[in-house]
C-alpha cells in the first residue's frame, strides 16, 4: 500500500488503523478510504454536506443543496460501467434522505428530492419494491434522459411489473402511460427501438410508436415488430402487424406494407397499398408479389385507372407470365433437355445441379 497523501490525514486515524490491519493480511481490498484521490474525497465531503443541508429547515439552503446534488449525479450517470462515485457516496445516506422526503411539505423541492431518490433507488432499493418508479411518479417529471441510460432502462422494467399489478387492481394508468411515452421517446431517439417496442408490448399499447418512428429507424422497428408477432398469441400478433403496416405506409415503403397486408390476409389493406402508390412500375412489382402468393385478386378501376394498364397488371397477377419466366430460367441454366427415367435411377453422386 502506498503511503497516503496529506489530505487523508483528517481520516488518518481510522485509516491508519486500517492500514495496519491491511498490511497484516495477504489480500486487501483495493478501495479503501485512504485510497481515494483528492477529487473523490472532496466529492464525498461535498455530498455529505449537501445531505446535511437538505435536512436543514431553510428552503434556500435545501434548494442549493438539492440542485448541486442532482448536478453531481447527472454528470456521472451517463455511462454505468461501474457504480458512479456520487451514487456510491450517497448510499449510506439513502435512508436519511428518504425520511427527509417523507417529512417535507409539498413543494418543487420535494419533487426535486424525489427525482434524486428515484436515481438512488437504482442501486439501493430492494428487489421488487419499485421504489425508483414510485419516486419518479412523485417527482418533477422532467427530461428523463438526463439521468442516464441505465436509469431509463431500470424504470422501463419497473413500469412493466407495475402495469401488471395495476391491471389486477384495476386502478388508473394515466401517470404510468405518460411515463411510458417519455421512455419510448428516449429509446427511439437513442437507437434502442427494440426496447421501446418491448415496453409498449408490455403495456399493451403500440399506438405511441407511430409518433416516434423516424425515417432512420422505421425499418428496424418494423422488422422487430414482424418477428415479434410470430411469437405472440392471437390477437396480439395482429395488433403488432397492424402497427407495422401503418408505419410502412407512413414512410411509403409500399412493398413491405404489401407483404404485411398479405400476411394479415387483409384485402382492404392490399387495396390501399395500390391506391396510395402512384408509380405504375411499382404496381407491376406488387402484382408479381401477389401472383407468387397464389390468391385470386382482381384489380378494380380505383387501383389502376387506365384500362390497358389494368389488363396488363391483371395479366401479371394471374400468373400468365410465369411460364415464360420459368422457361427463360431453364434455358439460361441449360436444363431444357428432358431426362430419361434410366438417368434418374442410375444418376451418379457427382452429377446434378445445385
Amino acid at each position: 500500500m502506498a503511503p497516503a497523501p496529506d489530505p487523508n490525514s483528517s481520516v488518518g486515524g481510522g485509516g491508519g488503523a486500517k492500514r495496519d490491519q491491511a498490511s497484516t493480511k495477504v489480500k486487501a481490498p483495493k478501495k479503501k478510504e485512504e485510497d481515494l484521490s483528492e477529487e473523490d474525497l472532496e466529492l464525498k465531503q461535498n455530498l455529505e454536506l449537501y445531505v446535511k443541508r437538505v435536512q436543514d429547515p431553510n428552503p434556500e439552503l435545501q434548494k442549493t443543496a438539492l440542485e448541486s446534488m442532482s448536478q453531481e449525479i447527472r454528470a456521472s450517470t451517463s455511462s454505468m460501467t461501474s457504480v458512479p462515485m456520487p451514487l456510491k457516496f450517497l448510499r449510506p445516506h439513502y435512508g436519511t434522505l428518504k425520511d427527509c422526503h417523507q417529512k417535507m411539505a409539498e413543494s418543487d423541492l420535494k419533487k426535486l428530492l424525489a427525482d434524486i431518490l428515484s436515481v438512488l433507488a437504482l442501486t439501493m432499493s430492494a428487489e421488487g419494491e419499485r421504489e425508483s418508479l414510485g419516486y419518479r411518479l412523485a417527482g418533477s417529471g422532467g427530461d428523463i434522459g438526463s439521468w442516464g441510460h441505465e436509469y431509463v432502462r431500470n424504470l422501463a422494467g419497473e413500469v412493466a411489473v407495475e402495469y401488471t399489478i395495476r391491471q389486477v387492481q384495476e386502478s388508473s394508468m394515466m401517470d404510468l402511460m405518460d411515463l411510458v411515452r417519455q421512455i419510448v421517446a428516449f429509446h427511439m431517439k437513442h437507437n434502442a427501438e427494440t426496447e421501446a417496442v418491448d415496453l409498449l408490448m408490455e403495456v399493451e399499447d403500440l399506438d405511441p410508436l407511430l409518433d416516434h418512428v423516424g425515417r432512420t429507424n422505421f425499418r428496424r422497428t418494423c422488422n422487430y415488430l414482424t418477428s415479434a408477432a410470430k411469437y405472440r398469441p392471437w390477437p396480439d400478433d395482429m395488433v403488432a402487424l397492424d402497427i407495422a403496416y401503418m408505419i410502412y405506409m407512413k414512410f411509403k415503403a409500399y412493398p413491405n406494407a404489401l407483404q404485411i397486408a398479405l400476411l394479415l390476409d387483409n384485402m382492404q389493406y392490399v387495396k390501399k397499398v395500390f391506391t396510395s402508390c402512384t408509380n405504375l412500375l411499382r404496381k407491376k412489382q406488387f402484382c408479381y408479389m401477389i401472383s407468387r402468393h397464389g390468391i385470386t385478386f382482381n384489380l378494380d378501376p380505383e387501383m389502376v385507372e387506365d384500362k390497358d394498364d389494368r389488363s396488363m397488371l391483371q395479366e401479371i397477377v394471374n400468373n400468365i407470365k410465369l411460364n415464360e419466366g420459368y422457361l427463360t430460367l431453364a434455358r439460361d441454366i441449360d436444363v431444357m433437355e428432358a431426362k430419361r427415367p434410366e438417368d434418374i435411377y442410375k444418376v451418379w453422386p457427382s452429377c446434378g445441379i445445385c
Binding site: N223, Y288, H293, G294, N319, K321, T328, L329
Partner: protein, 503 residues
Amino acid sequence: MAGTSDSTSGSAGNWIFRNKDDGKTSATASLGMIYLWDVEGGLAQLDKYYDISDKPVRAGALLGVGIVNCGIKSDCDPALALIGEYTDNEDSSVRIGAIMGIGIAYAGSQNDQIKSSLSPILNDEKAPLDVVAFAALSLGMVYVGSCNDEVAQSIMFALMDRNSAEPGEALVRFLPLGLGLLYLGKQESVEATAEISKTLCEKIRNYCKMTLLSCAYAGTGNVLKVQELLAQCGEHPEKDTIHQGPAVLGVAMIAMSEELGRDMAIRSLEHVLQYGEQNIRRAVPLALGLLCISNPKMNVMDTLSRLSHDTDSEVAMTATISLGLIGAGTNNARIAGMLRNLSSYNEQHARLLFCVRIAQGLLHMGKGLLTLNPFHSDRVLLSPTALAGIVTLLHACLDMKSIILGKYHYVLYFLALAMQPRMMLTVDENLKPISVPVRVGQAVDVVGQAGRPRTITGFQTYETPVLLAAGERAELATDKYIPLSPILEGFVILGENPNYREE
C-alpha cells in the same frame, strides 16, 4: 421433368396406353404436369384425349387440363369451360378427374359457379363415396381459407349422411379435410364448425376434430394447440384409431412457421416416434417431410433414412416418400444416393419400389428448378393454396395402401399446387429479362441488431437468373440498378439508377 416439353411427345400415344386402368389416368394427367403453366401448349396436347372412349384416359385428360391451369387465372376460364360439364358424367372415374381438375385449377378462387355445380354432388345420395369425397376436397380447395358457411354446411351434411354408411372407407378422410381447408389458418373461426363436428359418429368424430384443429391453426405457431395435439398423440387408446395421424401432421402444420418452432417440433416428433402407436409412427415421417419440405436438413435426412428401413412397411413407405419431399426440387446428391440404395434394397417389393420411384421423381422435380415450399417472400408469407396441396397429399399418405398404392394414386398431382420456381429473375422496366450480378448466400437474421449488418453470409456472385435454395437470400451486386422491392425473390423489376456512374 415438369414444365418443359418432353421429347417423347411425338410418340405420346404409345406410352400412355402401356398402362392399365387407373394407371392410364395418371399417365395422361402427367402430360398436364409436363406442360405445367403452359396453357396453350398443354391444352393442345391434351386435346385429343377429351372425347376418347377409353374412360380412364379421358379422366386423366380432364385432370391434366386442371393441372396445366394450376395457379394461372384467366378471364375466359378455359379449365371450367373444358371440363366443367364432365362433373356430372355417368362414369365415376371421369367425374373424379373433372372434379379434381377443377379443384386444382381454381384453388383459392372462391368461384361461385363451381360451388353451385359441386355442392349438389355432396348431397346426392346416389353418388358413390369417392366422388363425394373428391367433391368435398375440391370445394375445400376452391374456398381455401375463406370460412365460407354454405360450403361448410354442405360438407358437414355430407359427413353426417355418410356417417352411418361407410365410415371405414379410406376416402372418407377427404371430407373432414375439405372442411378443414375452408378454415386454413383462420384460427378461432373454426370454433362453430368444430362444435358441430362433435355430433358425428364416433369413428370419424375425432379424426374430424384433429383435422379441423390442425388446419385452423396451420402456420400460426400457436403453442397451446401444439400441446393439445401432442397430448392426443400421447394417448394409447385400446382400439385401433385413425385420429392420431392427423394430430401428428397437425403438430408439424402449426409449428412450421418459424425456425425455432420447427426445430422444437422436429425434436418432439422424435419422442412421439418412440412411444407412439402404430398409426402415429406412420404419420411422423410425413410430418418431418412437411417441416423440412424442399429443405434437406441432415438430421431429418438421417431419421428418415433410418425409418425407410423400418420393419413396418407402411412406415417405410411414408419415410421414403418424405425423403422425396424434403429433397423436392433440389437434386440433392445424398438423398439421390439413399433412394438408389432403397431401390436396390426393395427390388422385390413392388409397393416399396413404387414409393422409391415417386420420391426420386420428387427429388429431381423440374430438373432442380422448382420448390414445394409454401413459404415465400423471405419466409414471411404462407401461400394458402400451396399448403392446401401439400396437406392433401399428406392426409392421403396416411393411408398409403388404399389411396396412393390403390386406385387413387393421382392424388399425388395435388402437389402441383405447391410447385413454384425457386428463382430470382430480374426484369427491366419493360418486363424483359436482364442479367445482372447478384450475391447469393445464407440468410442471416438481423432483427434487433445494431447498425446495418449484412443480411447474407457466405455468398458467391452469380448472374441472374439464379436459383435460391431454402434459407438463401440474394442481394444485388451492382449499383447500376435499383430493385423496386427490397424482397429479392421470384420476379424482380429493376429500375435504372440515375445516380450511377460508370467507373
